[in-house]
C-alpha cells in the first residue's frame, strides 16, 4: 500500500469507517512509515482542536432573544386556537394598551385626588349650617304663632282674652274685625292691616306688646302673616 493511499485513508481510519482488514493494513503501514505517522498525528491533533471549537458559550442576549421569540410564537398559537382565546387575547391587548396609556396619568390623577380630598377636609367645617336642636320638631309652620295671656309693660293683663287666632283663610262674620299682622323672622310685627273697622287700642296693645313666634320653614324662621279676629265693638252714640 502506497503512502498516498494510506494518507487518503487516515481520515476514514480516524472516523472508524474502515473495515477490520483495511484498518490493519493502514496501521501496519503507519508503524513503519514516519511521514504517514506524522500525518496521522497531525490529523488527530487537528480533529481534537476542532472538537474543542464546539465549546463556545452562547451569548446571554441570544438566549433572551430566543425566549422572547418563543413567547411571541406561543401567544400567537394560543390566539389562533379558538374564538374565546382570541377574545381573551384581544381583551388583554386592550387592557395593556389602556394601562400603558393611563400610566403617565396615574401619578397626576392620584395627586389631584389626594389634594382635592385634603381641600374638602379643610373646608368641611365651614360648610356646616346652623341646626335647630330645640324641642320643636323641624316641621313646616306656615304662620307665626302668638303667645297668649300676655300683659302690658305695667304688668296689667291686656284685655285681649276674647281675641281669636285664626288661619289667614278663615271666614269672618259681620260682627268681627280682622287684624292681619306681618311678622318677620325675628318675631317683630313689621306691618299690619285691619279689615272691617278702625284700629282699636286693644289691637294696638296686641301689636305692640304681644310676643310673636315667627313662622318656620324646615325649622328656619321666616316671614309670615297672622290673622287675629276681634269682636266688633258697638259704638255708643254720643
Amino acid at each position: 500500500m502506497s503512502c498516498e493511499n494510506v494518507q487518503k485513508q487516515i481520515g476514514l481510519l480516524l472516523d472508524r469507517q474502515l473495515n477490520h482488514g483495511e484498518r490493519e493494513h493502514v496501521l501496519a503501514h503507519i508503524e513503519t512509515c514516519r511521514p504517514c505517522a506524522r500525518k496521522l498525528e497531525s490529523m488527530q491533533d487537528l480533529r481534537a482542536t476542532m472538537g474543542r471549537m464546539s465549546n463556545v458559550q452562547v451569548p446571554p442576549e441570544l438566549t433572551a432573544r430566543l425566549r422572547v421569540a418563543a413567547s411571541h410564537y406561543r401567544q400567537s398559537v394560543e390566539r389562533r386556537r379558538d374564538f374565546a382565546a382570541r377574545l381573551r387575547h384581544f381583551a388583554a391587548c386592550i387592557r395593556l394598551e389602556f394601562d400603558n396609556m393611563m400610566r403617565p396619568l396615574a401619578v397626576p390623577f392620584a395627586g389631584g385626588l389626594a389634594s382635592s380630598f385634603a381641600c374638602f377636609l379643610f373646608l368641611l367645617p365651614s360648610l356646616s349650617f346652623q341646626h335647630n336642636y330645640g324641642l320643636e320638631p323641624p316641621l313646616f309652620r306656615p304662620e307665626p304663632a302668638i303667645v297668649t295671656g300676655f300683659t302690658d309693660p305695667d304688668g296689667t293683663p291686656v284685655g285681649a282674652t276674647n281675641v281669636k287666632m285664626e288661619w289667614g283663610s278663615s271666614l269672618v262674620t259681620g260682627d268681627e274685625v280682622t287684624l292681619t299682622v306681618l311678622v318677620d323672622p325675628a318675631g317683630q310685627v313689621q306691618d299690619w292691616n285691619v279689615y272691617g273697622d278702625d284700629l282699636t287700642p286693644e289691637m294696638k296693645s296686641v301689636i305692640l306688646y304681644s310676643k310673636f313666634i315667627p313662622a318656620t320653614v324646615s325649622g328656619q324662621p321666616a316671614w309670615g302673616l297672622k290673622q287675629l279676629v276681634f269682636p266688633r265693638q258697638r259704638r255708643l252714640r254720643s
Partner: protein, 220 residues
C-alpha cells in the same frame, strides 16, 4: 493533546435521547410552556456552535439561530420523527447558514467592519476559560482556533459544512448525509476533500507568515 482513535463520544444513549426527543416534540405540539424553554436549553448551544463555525460571525450566527428556532416552532407539527430532533435542527441550521451566506455576499460584502478584533469585542465572561487547562494550552488553542477559522473561511462552503459537522460537531457520516441531503459516498468525498483543503490552507498560512511560537520561559 491527541485523542485515541477508539474514543467514544460522551453522548447519552441513543434510545434515551430519542425518547426524550419524542416527548419534547409531543409537548411542543401541545403548546406546553415548559417545552419551549427545554428546547432552547437543550439545543441553543449546539445550534449556535454550528452556525458560528459555518459563518464565523457572531451576529450572523445569532440571527441564524433565531431563525432556526422560529422555523422549528412553526414546523414542529410536520416533524415526522424519522430522524433525531438534533439532526433535523442541524439540517435547518445548515440551510439557514447557506441562505445567510448568500445574502451576505449579495448585500453586505462591501461593508467595512470597524471593530474586527474578536478579542476586543469579547466580554469578560467569554474570556473566562476552563480552569482545568493551563493558560499556555488556552493560548495555544486560541491561536489555533483563529488559524482554523481563517482557513475554514477560505475553503469551499460545501466542504466546510461537511468538515465542521464531522470534526467540530462530531456527527456520524450517516447523520451528515441526512443533514446535508446527500449520499454517504458524497459525504465521505466532501470530508476527505475538505480536510485536504483545510490542511492546504493551514500549511499555506503557516508558510506565508511564521506562526507565533509559544514557548514558556522563566523570567530572567
Amino acid at each position: 493533546m491527541s485523542t485515541s482513535i477508539l474514543e467514544l463520544s460522551p453522548e447519552r444513549p441513543a434510545e434515551t435521547a430519542e425518547a426524550e426527543d419524542f416527548l419534547l416534540v409531543e409537548h411542543l405540539r401541545q403548546g406546553a410552556e415548559g417545552a419551549y424553554e427545554e428546547l432552547i436549553q437543550r439545543f441553543q448551544q449546539p445550534v449556535y456552535a454550528l452556525a458560528l463555525r459555518l459563518l464565523s460571525d457572531q451576529g450572523e450566527a445569532c440571527d441564524v439561530v433565531q431563525e432556526v428556532f422560529l422555523k422549528v416552532f412553526r414546523n414542529i407539527a410536520n416533524f415526522r420523527c424519522q430522524s433525531s430532533l438534533k439532526t433535523w435542527m442541524y439540517r435547518i441550521t445548515v440551510n439557514e447558514a447557506y441562505n445567510a451566506r448568500r445574502w451576505f455576499f449579495r448585500h453586505r460584502r462591501r461593508e467595512v467592519e470597524l471593530d474586527n478584533d474578536p478579542d476586543e469585542t469579547r466580554n469578560w465572561k467569554e474570556n473566562i476559560r476552563d480552569s482545568s487547562r493551563s493558560p499556555f494550552d488556552v493560548a495555544c488553542d486560541r491561536e489555533r482556533h483563529v488559524m482554523i477559522e481563517a482557513a475554514l473561511d477560505k475553503i469551499n462552503p460545501i466542504f466546510r459544512e461537511a468538515v465542521v459537522l464531522r470534526d467540530t460537531m462530531d456527527r456520524s457520516y450517516e447523520e451528515i448525509a441526512e443533514i446535508l441531503g446527500v449520499s454517504l459516498g458524497t459525504v465521505k468525498s466532501r470530508i476527505l476533500r475538505g480536510r485536504e483543503a483545510l490542511r492546504d490552507e493551514l500549511a499555506s498560512s503557516l508558510n506565508a507568515r511564521p506562526a507565533m511560537r509559544l514557548v514558556p520561559k522563566t523570567a530572567e
